[in-house]
């Protein structure tokens, strides 16, 4: 940085001590702030790994909790992983088309008050509390189907409310990176506008769009509160989004933790009093690995499949 290296050359006079000390103190504080923020990151990572590895095993990942009770060490999170995948998939299927078309509208068509309103309210929508999104999805289906409806798709709709604005913002940014020369060249060749968008703009931006969608998925896959209200709890495998309660990883973590210690009879070796906590941590480790993998793959896609945008 030019500013930092250039300064000493012009310092004819020694800086007064007080000013120099202030400078050093503030530098120290700024670095301290950064290190302070790193402590929870390191601590969370350490906690999740140290507590999570105890129960994590192929068995744990491939079995559900059906019929598991007491302090038994059997049972796993297969049903929760399946639920998370299905519900997140439902949310993605709903939000990606809406989000992508909204971004196309904002970048390619949007003029005037409607475009300004959409931009503003997309930003406002990113601030909707997740639990309110859950209440909305519940209320929507309570009005349509009557109160008490609980199935996976409601959770998917709750998540899509949270996911759509994230998709819009990231897609919008990616579409704006596409050079105008490409659009103009296509239009000059007589290609209709919509084909220009589909064949030129979207194709150029596809890596960035993929990254954006994956990061949006990573953001909603860990949501707990809306699913607590809409998809409910279950111990069994349920692959039907339209019927019955569906367990998800975040809700599994919460509900396992919530069950707490198991009272064990003295001398009962098959009974582990901490089993619920250990399961919660193992599920947390699984969830974090999924989220981090999504983030990592998204960044790799962005890095290796990005188009050469040329120099501007």
């Amino acid at each position: 940085m030019a500013t930092a290296t250039a300064a000493p050359a012009f310092q004819v006079h020694r800086i007064e001590t007080r000013r120099r000390v202030t400078n050093h103190v503030m530098t120290g504080l700024v670095v301290l702030a950064f290190l302070l923020a790193m402590t929870p990151l390191v601590s969370v990572t350490w906690s999740v790994i140290a507590e999570g590895y105890k129960q994590l095993s192929p068995y744990f990942l491939t079995h559900s909790m059906r019929g598991v009770f007491g302090g038994s060490e059997s049972g796993g999170i297969y049903h929760a992983m399946l639920g998370t995948v299905l519900i997140t998939l439902a949310a993605t299927v709903i939000s990606v088309p809406i989000g992508l078309f909204t971004a196309i509208y904002l970048v390619e068509y949007g003029r005037g008050p409607l475009a300004r309103a959409v931009t503003f309210f997309v930003d406002v929508m990113t601030g909707i509390p997740s639990i309110v999104a859950g209440l909305f999805a519940y209320a929507l289906f309570a009005v349509i189907l009557g109160p008490g409806a609980t199935f996976g798709l409601i959770g998917g709709i709750a998540l899509s409310v949270l996911m759509t604005p994230v998709v819009v913002r990231s897609s919008e940014e990616m579409l704006r990176l596409v050079p105008n020369e490409l659009r103009e060249a296509a239009l000059a060749l007589g290609v209709p506008k919509w084909l220009t968008v589909v064949k030129v703009v979207l194709r150029t931006a596809v890596a960035g769009l993929t990254t954006g969608v994956m990061i949006a998925i990573a953001r909603v896959i860990g949501e707990t509160a809306p699913l607590l209200l809409t998809a409910g709890f279950s111990d069994s495998i349920n692959s039907d989004l339209f019927h019955g309660r569906m367990m998800t990883l975040p809700v599994f973590i919460y509900s396992s933790w919530h069950k707490g210690y198991v009272p064990c009879n003295a001398g009962d070796v098959a009974c582990n009093p901490n089993i619920n906590f250990e399961r919660a941590w193992a599920a947390a480790l699984t969830l974090i690995v999924i989220v981090m993998l999504l983030n990592l793959v998204a960044r790799l896609v962005a890095r290796f499949f990005a188009p050469k945008t040329g120099t501007h």
Binding site: F120, G127, P129, V132, Y138, G190
Partner: protein, 330 residues
């Protein structure tokens, strides 16, 4: 960056003609506009459906609510039931904000003005990782590291109480285990750090380079340059960043639900257990077991939360939109 920089008149005309030609174009444009409008419709629908489902609770007499809902206190109207919850929500968010804002500004300065350019992006990514951790995991972590038997929450609370106990905020018996609003606020602070840092960093990077170089050329130290050039320029950005963080903190559910021992009072004693509760945590705690009218009541409290966060976010976005093309979603 705009998409159409000074197109020639002919280009504009060609564009218009090509848009007119073909059903595909019309359909595509319609889909785009429709999706944009759908966003506005969804936001309106959130408010509408919450209101519809909250209506039975809003129109019921306090006595009816008390009779049919197990946890609804006697001789209390819905407003005086929501009151302490709103108070607890605001207090928890305020604690988170007071802890997070100075640290986030420090991190943003570190990334924008102190760290070597080469590492800046990577360090920013590390901070963003904090936002990638699910809130339920923060809850587990908070309970283990701060609340649990060897948690560091208790000693922190004790020190605060001993040193600052004369301030009403830190009065009262510190909770053991540390299931207090203060500890919940600390975890919330960690969760809102990334968003505040991201916005503040973006604003600090926009400081005109000439201002910075001019103040250095006049002999300012690096801190003086930051104080006189960067911070005044970024002040409104920091304010709106803090408000975006506030919006997040108001709606966070799981960490508060898992850490805080709830109570329904207007107590300022943030180190005590069983004094406050937030709207979001209360909904998550009561919803699975609630009867129909109970659900309506909880949705009414959710409506209050929605209105508060909407107001905070709109204000923050309004401030930030006057400044820069930036949002928390990117």
């Amino acid at each position: 960056m705009t998409t159409t920089p000074t197109r020639s008149p002919q280009g504009a005309e060609g564009l218009r003609r090509s848009r007119r030609s073909g059903v595909g174009s019309g359909l595509f444009a319609g889909l785009s506009v429709g999706s944009g409008a759908l966003i506005l419709v969804v936001l309106a629908a959130v408010a509408a459906f919450l209101l519809i489902q909250a209506w039975p609770a809003l129109t019921s007499a306090p006595a009816t609510l008390h009779e049919s809902i197990a946890w609804f206190p006697d001789k209390t109207s819905l407003v005086s039931f929501v009151g302490p919850l709103v108070f607890g929500t605001l207090l928890a968010a305020a604690i988170a904000l007071v802890i997070a804002t100075p640290i986030a500004v420090g991190i943003a300065l570190f990334i924008s003005h102190y760290a070597p350019r080469r590492f800046a992006a990577g360090l920013g990514y590390l901070i963003d990782l904090l936002a990638a951790i699910p809130s339920v995991v923060y809850g587990l972590w908070g309970v283990r590291v701060l609340v649990g038997q060897n948690g560091i929450g208790q000693p922190i609370q004790q020190v605060l109480h001993d040193v600052l106990g004369f301030i009403p905020l830190f009065a009262g018996t510190p909770a053991r285990p540390a299931r207090s609003l203060f500890i919940a606020g600390m975890v919330l602070a960690v969760m809102i750090l990334p968003i505040i840092t991201a916005v503040a960093r973006e604003v600090f990077l926009q400081t005109p380079r000439l201002h910075e170089e001019a103040s250095l050329a006049l002999g300012a130290t690096r801190w003086e340059m930051i104080r006189m050039a960067v911070l005044p320029f970024g002040r409104s950005g920091v304010v709106s960043a803090a408000m975006l963080g506030l919006g997040r903190a108001l709606g966070e559910t799981m960490a508060v639900l898992m850490i805080l021992s709830p109570g329904f009072t207007y107590s300022w004693h943030i180190l005590e257990a069983g004094k406050q509760q937030t709207i979001a945590a209360n909904i998550a705690a009561q919803f699975p077991e609630a009867n129909p009218l109970g659900v309506n009541t909880l949705i009414a409290t959710g409506l209050a939360l929605f209105v508060i966060t909407l107001a905070v976010n709109m204000l923050a976005r309004w401030i930030v939109s006057r400044r820069a093309e930036f949002s928390g979603a990117n």
